[in-house]
Symmetry: C2
Subunit: 355 residues, 2 copies
């Protein structure tokens, strides 16, 4: 078993949305147990979620969210893993790692367990290179560098805001692809981290994701999904589109590639289709909308960018569906709640806390 590397132990929280006991954390113990967990319990608040012994955690259920945010709790989704962003808001740390409870420790091609946390931290602590493509990928990795023709003035890179990790075994497919290729498994280990170039959007998956809360936190809003909403399974996509245009505007980088986690079980494609089907046609308009967004020079903080984006969403997407007006409202509410929670000191006492 690999030795834990509790890098950034006091600067990183792990956020987990769940509806069940967190037995999966047993396997992650060598890597995750040094860190503090923020668990966002979805669904029935009466249910007791068990956390393996020895983990330090705080847990919020729907009653807690309602109590802490009051009427602003409306911006936090219910019965959808989008509720996880409440944990981002409650954290007081610089970094967040968020992981789904059906994700396990993956093995590299040599059969060795992959320490996903360590790789995410490396990704976040080294710069990104969004302004020009490096054909040997991450130039800061040992054994690699910038290739011939890479401008020297760009070699310092920019701060990294997001580290997007991938999945072995069950790939992150939409319902139609799941239906067509039920048996497809991702077995290919691509030994690489790269920066997603500036002005290029990507489909951000929330399953295995880390970010610098101090750089991009307020934009990491997972939208309105699940109960009472016409759409699900687009929470991370929404956050990804918003975060990428804001990172591009503010000069931060987004990396994708390593680390892999092992994604154990494909969710039900029929259920997924029901959740996704509006997203599948809406995204045909949403993505071109995000591709043409230009934020103003006046927007210099993430909060300002996000509020400006909410206005653009209200104007630009309400023709797609009235839902986007509601979402634009929720984006504003989210920023208000974020600001309120994060200006308070000391921290709001969480309801359930491990000893």
């Amino acid at each position: 078993m690999a030795t834990p590397t509790p890098l950034l132990k006091d600067e990183l929280d792990i956020v987990i949305p769940t509806i069940r006991n967190l037995d999966f954390l047993e396997q992650w113990r060598p890597y995750l147990s040094p860190y503090h967990l923020i668990i966002v319990q979805d669904g029935d608040p009466a249910k007791v979620v068990k956390v393996p012994e020895g983990y330090d955690y705080e847990l919020y259920n729907r009653n807690d969210i309602n109590r802490i945010l009051g009427p602003k709790a409306s911006c936090i989704s219910f019965k959808d893993s989008a509720c996880r962003c409440f944990g981002y808001m409650m954290s007081k740390k610089k970094y967040i790692f968020t992981i789904d409870d059906d994700c396990w420790v993956a093995k590299d091609p040599q059969g060795k367990d992959i320490n996903a946390m360590e790789q995410h931290i490396t990704n976040l602590l080294t710069p990104s290179t969004p302004l020009f493509f490096n054909t040997l990928y991450d130039p800061y990795r040992k054994g690699a560098d910038f290739v011939r023709g890479y401008p020297f003035s760009m070699r310092e890179g920019v701060p990294t805001a997001i580290s997007h990790g991938l999945w072995l075994n069950v790939p992150d497919y939409d319902a139609p692809t799941q239906l067509v290729k039920p048996a497809e498994r991702n077995t290919r280990f691509v030994d690489m981290v790269m920066t997603i170039p500036k002005n290029t959007l990507f489909p951000m998956c929330g399953m295995n994701l880390a970010f610098d809360r101090s750089l991009i936190g307020p934009a990491m809003y997972f939208g309105l999904m699940g109960d009472g909403q016409p759409i699900g399974r687009y929470d991370d996509m929404w956050a990804g589109w918003c975060c990428k245009v804001i990172c591009d505007h503010l000069g931060y980088g987004v990396k994708t590639g390593l680390p892999y986690i092992h994604h154990s079980k494909a969710s039900n494609p029929f259920v997924n289709l029901k959740k996704e089907y509006k997203g599948i046609f809406w995204q045909e308009e949403i993505i071109p909308f995000f591709q043409q967004i230009q934020l103003s020079k006046e927007a210099v903080t993430v909060e300002q960018c996000y509020l400006e984006l909410s206005k653009l969403v209200r104007e630009g997407l309400n023709g797609v569906d009235p839902y986007f007006t509601k979402l634009a409202d929720a984006m504003v509410t989210w920023i208000e709640a974020w600001t309120e929670i994060n200006s308070k000191s000391p921290k709001v006492t969480p309801p359930i806390k491990s000893k």
Copy 2:
């Protein structure tokens, strides 16, 4: 030894610039011998270049270039591997694979020889996806697909114009990096092909490169380098910047990644520094220049795009150095020569031809 796969046998030429005997082709025999070679002999035309038995080839030296192009031969570099683009012009095939004579067959992590030709052909015959990033990379590869959140309307992709292969062993570093890291070797096999996103420039290396001549050929001009010019080792970079903006404008894709070749020997960093040093500071202005280029709607063929680009170079880069005026002239001459050679039928008889 792997079985040769003579895909596209009658539709692809291999272009090799050289100053020495082509013994390296012995190792490549299983993969390259089914194809026709166009050899562009650089330097002293009196020297005899030996080609291994059994290869079908035509060979051009400087006297041939002068005879065939007349005064327009001025656009073809001398004493620099940039002369290879003469071979692109003389080809009558749809596809080109160009390789340096210090490149050998690489091995994959299982120790198996890599058929670079086959991979380039796969890259060129499958679409590219420059409009949106796919986090599992090439979605057309076996075992992969488009991930959740990838717009369905973009899943047909666009035609692939360029396949940029990489190098194990000696990486393609500039002289300063070579000087600082003389012993660095690229040992990491990244099992991946990806599309370089639209509006992202990259440093294109001419060592291991394939392209669709019918889509992008006239833009594959390697510029004025070497003898009588103030710069060397930027021939492929120049072609890469020009090709990428034209591919983006015309809706073609550029892929990078697999296949690897084994690059045997680092060139002399002191010699390289002398050739490169102007490029190293010029590129600080050239790259932002290319990043802001917008070609007009009227430019609908590669030739039209390239002539428009030559005007932009003349206006936009002559402040950097008077060399760029000369280069802009040469870009025009290149298109004139390309048009002349490629409108002739039948083909100009090459001087040396294998039986």
